[in-house]
Structure formats: C-alpha cells, structure tokens
Amino acid sequence: MSHGKPGRTYPTPPAAKDRRVIGHPVTRIEDRPLVTGHGRYAGDINFDHQLHMRIVRAPVAHAKINGIDASAALALPGVVAVWTNADIATLSPIDFRADKSAESLKAYRQPALAKGRVRYVGDPVAAVFAEDPYLAEDAAELVQLDLEELPVIVSASDKPGTFDDGLHTEAGLFTHTFGDVEAAFKTAPHIIELDLVTGRHSGVPMETRGAIGRYDAARDLLELHGAAKIPHRNRETLCRMLDRSPSALHVFESHVGGGFGIRGEIYPEDVLVLLAAVRLGRPVKWIEDRREHLMCANQGREQRHIASIAFDDNGIILGMRDEIFHDQGAYVRTHGANVPNRTMCMLTGPYKVPAYAAIAHFRLTNKTPAATYRAPGRYESSFVRERLIDAIGHKLGIDPNDVRRRNAITPAEMPYARPLEALGEEIEYDSGDYIGLLDKALAAARWTELQASLARRRAQGEAVGAGLALFVEKSGLGPTDGVRITVDTGGLVEVVTGGASIGQGIETVVAQICAETLGVDYRRIRVVHGRTDQIEHGIGAHASRATVMTGSATHAAALKLRDKAIDIAAELMQTSKDALDIIDGKVVRRDAPAGSSMALGDIARHLAPGSKTRGEREPGLSVTGWFTTDHQVYPYGVHIAVVCVDRDTGAVAVEKYLAAYDIGRAVNPALV
C-alpha cells in the first residue's frame, strides 16, 4: 500500500477472510484481572515502611507568601517532615518535555512547592510526610499559611499584568501564516468576523493521580510507581531535573484508571515523592483526592478567538485570520506552548485556504495550569473553523454543507501539503475523502428530515438545533518505536513494548498483531508496557499513535521472530523454510499441517545458549523490531449533535449524537 510519497511503502495485509485475529472483535486480554478485582492501580501499590505525603495547597488564587508555620504539624507524633520551597530550593521547576518554543518560557515553569507567591487555588505550598495517610491529612490542616492576597487575573483577553519582577503575564506571542492574507482580505467581496470562546475543561479519570517514590540505596536506583501515559519521556525529564542517569531512575506503570491526556504528565507531586524517598530514606506514597484533582490536574481548552474569514459570492474561502487569547493558567507546564501552536496549525482543517494568518497570545492567569486535554488544539480549532463555515452559509443563504463541499480538499488533491507545522512536522495530509464522509454522515443522520423536524419544533417555540463539524485529526507521530518479542521454553510469547495503557486496549491490539504475524493464539501472549526497566525506549500512550507505532513495531518484530523460528526449524525438520508455516504456536509443514510439528517452546530450547543444535545462530528465540515513519497521518471525521435548550431553566439536553470517521482497517472493531 502506498502512503503518498514514493518510498513510503507498507506491506500489503492479507485479505480479511484470511486473517485469523486482526480485524475481529476478540475479547480483551486485559479484562480478566480487572473484573476479578486483581487490578493494580496506583492506590494498590504499597511498600514496607512507606510514608504518606499530603500537600498543603493555596486556598486563594493569588497571594504573596509571608510565612509558613509548620510547628504544630511537626509536633504531631508520626509526622516525619514538613517541606516548603526553602527545603527544595535547589530542585529544578517542573521541566518541559516538548515544544521547541519552550526555551523562552522557562521562567514560567512551576516549582514543586510555591516560591514566594501562590498563583492558583490548589498551588502546592508545603508537603507533609507522615506514618499514616489520615495523620498526614490532620497535620496538613495544622500548617499555618500567612498569605497576603494580590489582585487576580481571570481572563486571558484582559490587559496582561505582572507575573514577577520584570515578567509579563503574556509569556509568549506565536504566529503562523502563509499566503498574502492582507491582499485576500482587502479584495474579498465578503468578510465575517466572529468572537468565539471555548470553555475550560479537564479530564476527570475515575482514578485520581497517584505517585509512589522508592529509593533502593543498595543499588542506587530511584523508582517512580503509579506512572501513566509517557513513562519513558517522563523518565528523561525526571533525570534532567534530579540529575540522574536514565539507568538509575525507573518509572513503573501498572493499571491506570483513565488518562484523557491530563494524567501521566509530570506534576509537582511526582518529583516530591522521589526527592522525599531519597532524603527520608523510606518509600513515599501520595494518592490525590478528588478535590485536589479538580483543583490541580491539568486543565485546558480555554481560548478566545477573534476569527475572520474572507470569501467570494460562491462561498469560496479566500483567506482566514485568527487572533487567539490562550488562557494558560498559573504556570507553563510540561507542554510549553504546544496547545496554542497546535490550535493555529490545525485551524484550516479540511479546507483549501489560500492565505492564512493566526496569532496567539499565550497568557498566564490565576487559574489551574493548562496543558493537553483530549485532542488539544483540534477541539478548539474545529469549533472556530466550523462556526466560520456555518456563518458563510448563513450570510450567503446557502447550505453550510455546500460551503464545506465547495472548499474541502478533494481525494484527487491528496497528498496535500500545508505550509504549517504540527508537532514539529510539516503538515501533509496523507489521504482523505472528506466530502464522501460528510455525505455518509448526513445520510446516517437523515439530515434533511432532521432539519425539517427541527424547523417545525423551532416554529413551535422550542430552542433546538443541529450542529455539524467536519475536521481533520492527526495520528501516528513517529519517528521510531521498537518492541522486543521473546518466546520462552514454555511457549509463552512476551512482547515488551514502550507503550502505555490507559484503558484503551493496547495489550489486546498488540497481542492481536503479534498473534496474526507470528501464528500463535493471542491469549498466549503477554504484553508488557510502561516499564522503563524492561525496555530502553518507548513512546507511551499519547497523540493517537500507539497502534500505528507500537503496533507496527510489533509487526516488524514478529516477522523477524517468525523467520528465526522457521530458519532453525527447517534445519531440524530437514526441509526448506518455504515449506513451513507457524500455526497455533507450532511450526508445521504447509503441505501437511496435521503432520509432524515443532512447538515454539521447543524451538526456544534449541536456541538456548548451550544448545548444540543452535549452530552459529544468536542464542534465544528473541528479537527486537523497529518501525520508523517520517510522517504522521491525518484521519478525519464528522460529528453531528442535536441539542435542545430549555428556555426556562437553561438546561441543555443532547438529543442525538453521531460520529463518523474514516477509521481505515480496525485491528479490533470492538475497541474502535
């Protein structure tokens, strides 16, 4: 299958009827422990002699810290220590993991404990360490804060204020442009300007955050348990912050009760438990409570857009402009200015736009810091763009879906390059039939009848309507991921990945790919993820790419392993490699599958280091496979919502919701 440019070729998969596991809605290998109560979430992880950490948090949104009195807390029997910023003065603030624009934002990073000022409700001010979690909470309530309240900034579009001496609350100003937008707007027959706001949201996973720090002094190993999302990348950041070598700091993910983009980033608590484990010489456990989660976990999406669009009498887009006020909250967290930049780069969406100019004011306010929350930058930009498209239709008196049809990039124009960047790569849409999907979605929603019935209801006084958005997503960001597959002498297949699981079913998907490629039962495969001590690299579970990257690396590794098994089996079975296949974990002759066979476990034994039959082959039935891609891909979708607002109470009811996507080939249709 070609992937647009020559040279980007991928193996052609077998026809669906010939596939055994891929493409089938098989049940998940994750589920049995989870339905029997054997999951191991952060709260379930305990170590002997552990201490419990409780954070004292700012009760106000902006204040100067005049003093912190921990004497009453320290006097409680069982309280081991209380730290304030003075105790961690040499510790680096929470560092960035992404975004090349981050260098200029360094001064806005969050210290693990507030320094001099508190900047949002929930800002960590002190950390209490005690023998018992109830006691730690008691002690935290005894820590006295002497705070002098300061004026607060609550809107990113208000005049910026002072962050600190010599520092403005506008942390950055970013632009993305192409084409001659001035000229386009000067000559356009029509211009519409909309002032649009997207609200502040956050992810609320069922499991709150948790972090357990443990220091093994005997081996000089520092461990962080309770990790999620991006264990390997977080290790890099933590090593930089704590000045440790990667092989002396390991991050462990076990079960994770939901992610939504906000869980699994590095927060102050993660660094505090690590530092405390070293300094206090005992494991330190911290489990967030729900109130803390709502105050402190990353939030997102709060933007104001002053967006305008220039178009001709037929509704053809001539140019787009947007001025964005991005409410970053109190500090710049791990993503730097990634979200406003991505908003601008994805704003043009599925349409041909000849000229474009966007500018984003990246501003701090006295709210919970923002970062990536589900489809960061795409949610915001899709709302703004699709409102502009609707507005063109309304102004010209044509169906907004016709405006979509007239402006959408066509399949014949693919691959379609856009002179913008997304996540450090030039945007080039790989494929897509946007209008084909739009028409399918409209048919599925019975759009014409729906509109007629909504019009009747509106005529009777109801506040009801349907909204539609056509958008482009991004997926499969590379460049490279690798997995290691090993078959042990018992025939069990272990796939060690650098992926992560937030409940999406990655274990099953990886097992299916491995099973199909190798020729084993997917239920006989163990998939390891989220452990930096098991594999050196990993991309985790973010930016919609685990199946593309980790799945493809699994495919590459399984092909290699298959070849290695068949190579020695051919010698032992005195036949040619071509004559052999692997079915249900056994190497068999293609011409006589029911005849003599060799189990993969036996082949592993023949490949043992001391085996005489191994020959010159590298020991072990184990391989590493890599997958590299030079370009991410751009899936797309259509959402339709029918919403009714009660005129008396303002209550909103979503009556109907339809989502249509080009999902390609689903590895497991039940999980899509």
């Binding site: 049940t27 989870l34 109560g37 109830y134 996973p205 069922m206 499991e207």
Partner: protein, 162 residues
C-alpha cells in the same frame, strides 16, 4: 477519634480482626487492613460508586461508612464474585460485551449489578438504567455496561429456571 479500636469484619466469608481508628472508612479498611484492593476509591464522597460493595443485602458505598459500623454484617466485594476459575455471569458478560476500558469503575458496577439482580432478577430495562445511572464511568462505557448487565440477567434467569 485517633484511639484505635479492635473489631472483626466478615469480608467475603472470612473474618478479619482489625485494629482501626473509629474514623477509618470501611473502604480504606477493606483495602488496607483486609487486603482486598478490588474495591476502588474514585471520589470518597459517595458520588462515583467505584467503592460499591454488598453489605448484607444492600449495595452500599463503602467510602461513606466507617469500618466500625460494619461489624456483624456480611460484606461482599468484587473478589467474592468468581467461583474459583469460573467467572460470575456478570464478570463474563462485562468481558464479552466490552463493558470496561480502564476497569477502575468496574468493581463498583459489578457489585451494584450483582446486588440488583439478586434482589430483582426480572428488573425491567428502564429501572435497570436508572439503577446503573448511580455509578460513574468515564471511558464512555454506559451502553456496553447496560448491554452486559442485561445479558447476564438473561443468562442468570435461564440458569435459575433450568
């Protein structure tokens, strides 16, 4: 409140002698003192239902009770559902109908549903949806959770009449 008191809790048919502060919640005690960590804490104020257990014949939120209040009662948690290697019909139905993603809310849903089907084996759909609405799932699993519980209800009724 910080003085510990000795109590005995009967969890999944087994007695646990524990020494807890009177303020310690039943959920924390089941998890920490009885070692049954299948009961999860999502909100600690009775909203999410992840900590749902069966106390005698009622589904209750174990974060809203103190351990000392559960003395002399029969406590059942998710660990009690399977019979050895054989899963409870609800557990199997959750797997078969993709009724879970991250699995954190699952034990609470299973115990809520188990109690509901014990009390009302013939519960109708509308009432079932009403009951299941009392717990929260955040991975967009409600449709499949309802499907799973319905499937288990049918299977349990068939087994009962066999």
């Amino acid at each position: 409140m910080n003085e510990k008191t000795s109590i005995t809790l009967n969890v999944n048919g087994r007695d646990y002698a524990v020494n807890v502060e009177p303020r310690k919640t039943l959920a924390d005690t089941i998890r920490e003192d009885c070692g049954q960590t299948g009961t999860h804490l999502g909100c600690e104020h009775g909203v999410c239902g992840a900590c749902t257990i069966i106390l005698d014949d009622a589904a209750v939120r174990s974060c809203l009770m103190f351990a000392v209040q559960a003395q002399g009662k029969r406590i059942r948690t998710v660990e009690s559902l399977a019979d050895g290697e054989t899963l409870h019909p609800l557990q199997q139905a959750f797997i078969d109908n993709h009724g879970l993603q991250c699995g954190f809310c699952t034990p609470g849903f299973l115990m809520l549903a188990a109690n509901t089907l014990e009390q009302q084996p013939d519960i109708d759909d509308a009432e079932l949806i009403e009951v299941l609405s009392s717990n929260l799932c955040r991975c967009t699993g409600y449709q499949n959770i309802i499907k799973a519980v319905r499937a288990a209800a049918v299977q349990m009724r068939e087994t009962a009449t066999r």
